[in-house]
Structure formats: structure tokens, C-alpha cells
């Protein structure tokens, strides 16, 4: 069942990617890339990587969609048709994909409990977490308890970035320009009245 769902998800993703490559109307491309990110997030959820999926959905479908819309507002809405041959890019993509597939040949099977990564510190955490932290999700326990200071630093970084974005979006530059515009408007109003 899970395999069927994964195959269907991948099929929809491929259809989405082909639509992105085909459409020249850039607004539709932005919307389609948001849908593509949501599909990628769903694949991460089926792989049980919920935190990665959430980052993908927030960044891919949320922030970058808005950033791309901002770019479209600053530039043009239609993509110019390209007359160059796409043979070389196709070759590069196929080669990169082949190298990536070749790289997976050495990897252990998905979910294999005897894989090397599951033999190092994993068993110790699995033994200690129910006794010491008692949180159902082990990733949460490690991030919030065993590596709490690390997460605190990350939160500080993200908070600083958030303050920066809010300051940029709140339009400090626009406020500096506004008195002039307001003055002009009041001049016009006085002239018209």
C-alpha cells in the first residue's frame, strides 16, 4: 500500500515538474512550484521525517512562493520562449541523476535496523530516552533535551533573522520616504481645494 502511494506521489510530482517546464506563464509556474513543494513535504511525511517535511512546506510552499511573486511583480509575467537546444542540459541532468543513483547502490536498505548509522549512538538514546526524558518522539527528545543549548542557539539565530525580515518588510525605507509623499499629497489637496 505504502509503495503504491509513494509511486502515485512521485507520478504527481513528475507531472507537476513537466507542467512547470512547459508553462510560459510565470505566475502559474510559481503556483505549481508551491504545489511541488507540498508534494515533496508529503513524501517526507510518508518517510516519517515530519520535521523536514514541515520545513519544506513552510519554506518551499510559503516563503519562496511569496518571494517569487515579488520577483514577478518587479520583472515580467511571461517567460521568453527559448530557441536553444536543450540537449546539453538534458545530458547534464541525466548524468547527475545516474551518479546519484550509483551513490545509492552502496547504501543499506531503507529502514534496515542493522545499518551502520543505527549501530552508533542510536541504541543508547533509544534505551535512555524513555527513562530520562519520556517524550514519544526521539528526535524531539534529542533536539530539545540532549542538545538543548544547540537548539537554543538556533532559536536565537532564527529569531534574529525574523526580526531582520520584519524590519525590512515593515518598510523603514518607505517611512523615510513617506514624509515627502505626504507633503506632496497635502500640497495637491490644498491646490485642489
Amino acid at each position: 500500500m505504502e509503495i503504491l502511494i509513494n509511486i502515485l506521489l512521485f507520478a504527481i510530482m513528475v507531472a507537476c515538474a513537466m507542467a512547470i517546464a512547459k508553462i510560459r506563464h510565470l505566475f502559474a509556474v510559481v503556483m505549481l512550484s508551491g504545489a511541488f513543494s507540498l508534494l515533496a513535504a508529503l513524501l517526507f511525511v510518508t518517510l516519517d521525517a515530519v520535521d523536514v517535511a514541515f520545513t519544506e512546506a513552510a519554506v518551499g510552499a510559503g516563503i519562496s512562493t511569496v518571494l517569487m511573486l515579488g520577483t514577478i511583480a518587479l520583472t515580467v509575467r511571461r517567460e521568453k520562449p527559448s530557441y536553444r537546444s536543450s540537449f546539453v542540459p538534458l545530458l547534464v541532468v541525466i548524468l547527475t541523476g545516474a551518479v546519484l543513483v550509483y551513490g545509492t547502490l552502496d547504501m543499506p536498505n531503507f529502514g534496515d535496523p542493522n545499518a551502520v548509522v543505527h549501530q552508533h549512538v542510536g541504541p543508547e538514546y533509544i534505551e535512555r530516552i524513555p527513562k530520562e526524558v519520556d517524550v514519544p518522539n526521539f528526535v524531539t527528545a534529542i533536539l530539545a533535551s540532549y542538545r538543548g543549548f544547540d537548539t537554543l542557539g538556533e532559536v536565537a539565530v532564527v529569531f534574529t533573522a525574523g526580526i531582520g525580515v520584519v524590519l525590512l518588510l515593515s518598510g523603514l525605507g518607505a517611512k523615510a520616504r513617506r514624509p515627502k509623499i505626504l507633503a506632496q499629497n497635502s500640497d495637491n489637496n490644498e491646490a485642489s481645494s
Binding site: 500500500m1 506521489l9 504527481i12 502559474a28 505549481l32 504545489a35 507540498l38 510559503g62 512562493t65 518598510g171
Partner: protein
């Protein structure tokens, strides 16, 4: 039961994708992306019950919030061409 629901949701996603591809107007596409986000929320819920572990339901609620905020951002961008402090236009100045 949940498997059928999951497959139906995937088919619905495909139809939403078709509307995204064809959609004549911008609003069709914005609505299609919004519906796509709703399908994502539902699919996460259905996957939780399908795998007998409905622990991720609260995460699907977060997705619903992201979807809502994203749609608001897109529509606000349509309306005002800016995201932050929107300059107040006088009435009837459209």
C-alpha cells in the same frame, strides 16, 4: 478504508494539478493551490490513520495554518503589490 481515502485524495490532487495547469485566470490558480494545501492536510491525517499512528494530526493542523497564511500572502500581494506596511489608499482610488 483509509487506503481508499488516500487514493481518492491523490486523484483529487491530480485534478487540482490539472486546474493549476489549465486554469484560465489567476484566481483559479490561487484557489487550486489553496485546495492543494487542504489536500496535503487531509493526506497527512489519512496517512497517520493508515499507518495506525495518528500522532501527526497536530502537524496537519500546522499545515492548515501555513496554507491559510500563504494564501493570504498571495492574495494580499495581488491586491497591494507589497507585503509589509500597506499604504492606505483613499476610497474609490482603484
Amino acid at each position: 478504508m483509509f487506503a481508499i481515502a488516500a487514493i481518492a485524495l491523490l486523484i483529487a490532487m491530480f485534478l487540482g494539478l490539472a486546474r493549476l495547469f489549465k486554469g484560465p485566470t489567476l484566481y483559479d490558480r490561487a484557489l487550486a493551490v489553496n485546495a492543494f494545501g487542504t489536500f496535503t492536510v487531509l493526506f497527512i491525517g489519512v496517512m497517520g490513520f493508515l499507518n495506525q499512528r495518528p500522532d501527526f494530526l497536530d502537524i496537519s493542523l500546522l499545515y492548515a495554518l501555513i496554507n491559510f497564511a500563504g494564501t493570504i500572502a498571495i492574495l494580499k500581494f495581488f491586491r497591494y503589490r507589497a507585503l509589509g506596511d500597506v499604504p492606505q489608499k483613499p476610497e474609490g482610488d482603484q
